[in-house]
């Protein structure tokens, strides 16, 4: 494989994993943007999304053949379950603590995350063993490649994830900038006590944010299941962490930033593996070093604006 082809292939590899980081990162960014809370349980909501996808396709609907209808059915199921989960996580775990110091919510977030990870391993929940995610997209099993030039390969599922990530981002941008709910969301994000005085239903807006973020995590979960068909209760741990880094990198609170941060992190990882000596061993370390370097130069992230703390 020539040098250039390898570079392009690694770029594709990076974009494909980066799209997943981006989809998860949006959830972090939205919640942070509105509540200034890092929702550590978000990676685990993504896990629940993937698990729901598995159960919906194999146990609830017994999908035998991959069809588009089946895929959308599974996707909608997963979105519903995660949306509900996100709603209840906010309602039960974060809302009662909203006026407490921020550290309290942060610790609660870690607790919720652990509850999902270890509760999920119980025999009557998902069980601890990894599960094989079924094929849901027609035509992928027989011809998994969209492009196959020489040794250069772009998978159909990878391309789909990339496109869905882009579409989701634009849809989200539209919701936030053009709709009434988006306006309320921005108002709450700017100052939530003032927004409340102006007649914005703060609770509803915050619930909406959690539901929306969780629904996106569900999409990411199902797509990852299709791309790497192994789902288990701890699968949210590492991607969750990396997506959080991606969100910070892009400028936490900014949706474009989450997208850019996700792609940048994915590409950095692939390039480190390819061009650093012993790169695969130091992939995470070197990738994070690059991120630290970026944050040293631009502490608010790529798209973040420096905000003056109000005294």
């Amino acid at each position: 494989m020539p040098q250039f082809q390898q570079f392009v292939q690694q770029l594709i590899n990076g974009l494909s994993i980066g799209a997943i980081y981006a989809l998860i990162a949006v959830g972090y960014t939205m919640v942070y943007g509105v509540l200034r809370l890092i929702n550590f349980a978000h990676g685990d909501v993504y896990m629940v999304g993937a698990m729901t996808g598995f159960y919906a396709s194999t146990r609830w609907f017994h999908l035998q053949q991959p069809t588009w209808a089946g895929f959308f059915l599974v996707l909608v199921c997963s979105m519903l379950v995660c949306g509900t989960l996100g709603y209840f996580i906010e309602l039960l775990a974060y809302r009662p603590l909203r006026n407490q110091p921020r550290i309290v919510s942060l610790i609660t977030a870690i607790a919720v995350s652990m509850l999902l990870e270890f509760g999920g391993q119980a025999k009557w929940m998902f069980g601890p063993d990894p599960k094989p995610f079924p094929d849901l997209i027609p035509g992928v099993e027989a011809h998994p490649d969209l492009v196959h030039m020489g040794q250069l390969v772009i998978g159909k599922v990878d391309a789909m994830i990339f496109l869905i990530a882009l579409v989701m981002m634009f849809a989200l941008r539209y919701v936030v900038r053009e709709t009434k709910m988006g306006l309320a969301l921005r108002a709450v994000s700017y100052r939530f006590d003032t927004a409340a005085l102006m007649g914005v239903n703060v609770n509803r807006v915050i619930s909406f944010t959690f539901v929306l973020g969780s629904v996106l995590a569900a999409v990411a979960g199902v797509l990852v299941g299709l791309r790497s068909p192994k789902v288990d209760p701890l699968m949210g741990l590492l991607p969750g962490l990396k997506a959080f880094i991606a969100a910070v990198l892009g400028g936490i609170g900014d949706i474009r930033g989450a997208l850019a941060g996700g792609f940048l992190l994915g590409i950095t990882e692939a390039m480190v593996v390819s061009y650093f000596p012993k790169g695969s061993e130091y992939r995470d370390g070197v990738a994070f070093l690059v991120l630290i370097a970026i944050l040293v130069v631009k502490p608010s992230g790529l798209f973040g604006r420096a905000v003056q703390e109000k005294v």
């Binding site: 390898q6 590899n13 990894p130 094989p132 791309r227 701890l234």
Partner: protein, 386 residues
């Protein structure tokens, strides 16, 4: 207030009575394993095999005229938790011996605790040589990685049924003692045979994307890829290698042995090889009996290697207690060390001077979603675990 004191007293007396009663008519053995966590099928399979042996021993009268009771602790697939689990087994449950773990990293974490308390520990299936080097109370019921790595390298390069490869790539789990060890011994044998390692890449447990490493490997154009990992990742690795258009065989060790490898890897694992402790296809009466009994007890499930080693570990330990004629840790240790030709289901087991079981290895080839028996390698044939 007075009632509280009375209740406390009552609890005290009953628990003392229970303890006294327990010490009289049963022998308590500890088991720690990954019943949950990333490699949960390792722990559950081992536990199932062990329970099968336990039932057989107890229904035929137990040992030393007493029933054996096994207390099991879950280490959640984490080395730190393995330490606490073993500490609890020894200090609270007063076990006389410990069986565990599958993963070498966890066995290595727990072994010093057993060694310090002079409680014999028998690992059913940790293959990294360092495990039994911890001390003279630590044993294993399986072969070790120098043998496993060498057997696969010899097979892949020389055997007519193998890929007859000379250029190898390696993709290993850098945080896993087992995987790191196998990589080392495989590399040594390949080089000694005049072969080449053209790519040496790594990953971490829990990774789901290996395409970056596999792209590097593809560029180096190897004849085969050695992936000494666990079933949690190898299925995905095989798939992604095929996605990138690589048709060469991937090869691994006993960590591949789980249904999950086939379920996750599907067509991609066909044509791959791995070394293992036994094959359910083996045509020996002991394997057949074991497989039949296991299926009867566990809803027709086919036992994997961890199950048969759990079964053999329990049997070996009971045999050692019987020969020791006592529940004293030191005497059981001595008896275990003198295990010779114990008729285990996975083969005859003899302890060597380093407390490692000397046993043959089998090489399996995956075809049509099933691991088929290809060859057996005897312990001395592959440089007998130097």
């Amino acid at each position: 207030m007075r009632r509280d004191i009375l209740i406390l007293l009552l609890i005290g007396v009953t628990s003392w009575a229970c303890r006294a009663a327990r010490a009289d008519d049963e022998i308590v053995i500890g088991e720690f394993g990954s019943l949950t966590g990333g490699t949960a099928t390792f722990g559950t399979s081992t536990d199932e095999g062990l329970r099968l042996a336990l039932d057989e021993i107890n229904s035929s009268g137990g040992v030393l005229g007493k029933q054996i009771r096994v207390v099991v602790e879950d280490d959640q697939s984490k080395p730190e938790a393995a330490v606490t689990a073993v500490q609890k087994l020894i200090s609270e449950d007063h076990v006389i011996a410990v069986i565990g773990e599958v993963a070498s990293s966890r066995s290595l974490a727990a072994a010093p605790v057993c060694q310090r308390s002079h409680i014999p520990m028998l690992s059913p299936s940790s293959t990294n040589p360092k495990v039994t080097a911890v001390g003279n109370f630590i044993f294993r019921a399986c072969f070790i990685d120098p043998f496993q790595g060498a057997a696969m390298a010899n097979f892949a390069m020389k055997d007519d049924k193998g890929p007859k490869a000379t250029r190898f790539a390696i993709l290993y789990d850098v945080k896993n003692d087992y995987s790191v060890g196998l990589r080392q011994f495989f590399t040594q044998t390949v080089k000694a045979n005049g072969g080449l390692i053209v790519a040496d890449e790594s990953y971490g447990e829990g990774d789901i994307d290996f395409k970056a490493q596999l792209t590097n490997i593809e560029r180096a154009a190897p004849d085969a890829i050695y992936v000494p990992g666990y079933y949690t990742e190898v299925g995905l690795i095989c798939r992604q290698a095929r996605d990138l258009g690589m048709g060469i065989p991937l090869m691994g060790g006993d960590g591949w042995d789980s249904d999950k490898t086939f379920q996750i890897g599907r067509d991609a694992v066909n044509g791959c090889f791995f070394t293992n402790h036994y094959s359910p296809d083996e045509d020996t009466p002991r394997v057949k009996d074991f497989v039949a009994h296991y299926r009867a007890k566990y809803a027709n499930k086919t036992p994997d290697a961890m199950a048969i080693l759990g079964y053999d570990a329990m049997g070996m330990l009971a045999d050692a207690i019987k020969r020791a004629g006592s529940t004293d840790g030191r005497l059981i240790r001595d008896a275990l060390a003198h295990t010779k030709g114990y008729p285990g289901a996975s083969g005859n087991i003899t302890m060597d001077a380093r407390r490692n079981a000397q046993k043959p290895i089998v090489i399996l080839k995956i075809e049509n979603d099933h691991a088929h028996f290809v060859a057996t390698v005897q312990p001395d044939a592959a440089g007998s675990a130097k």
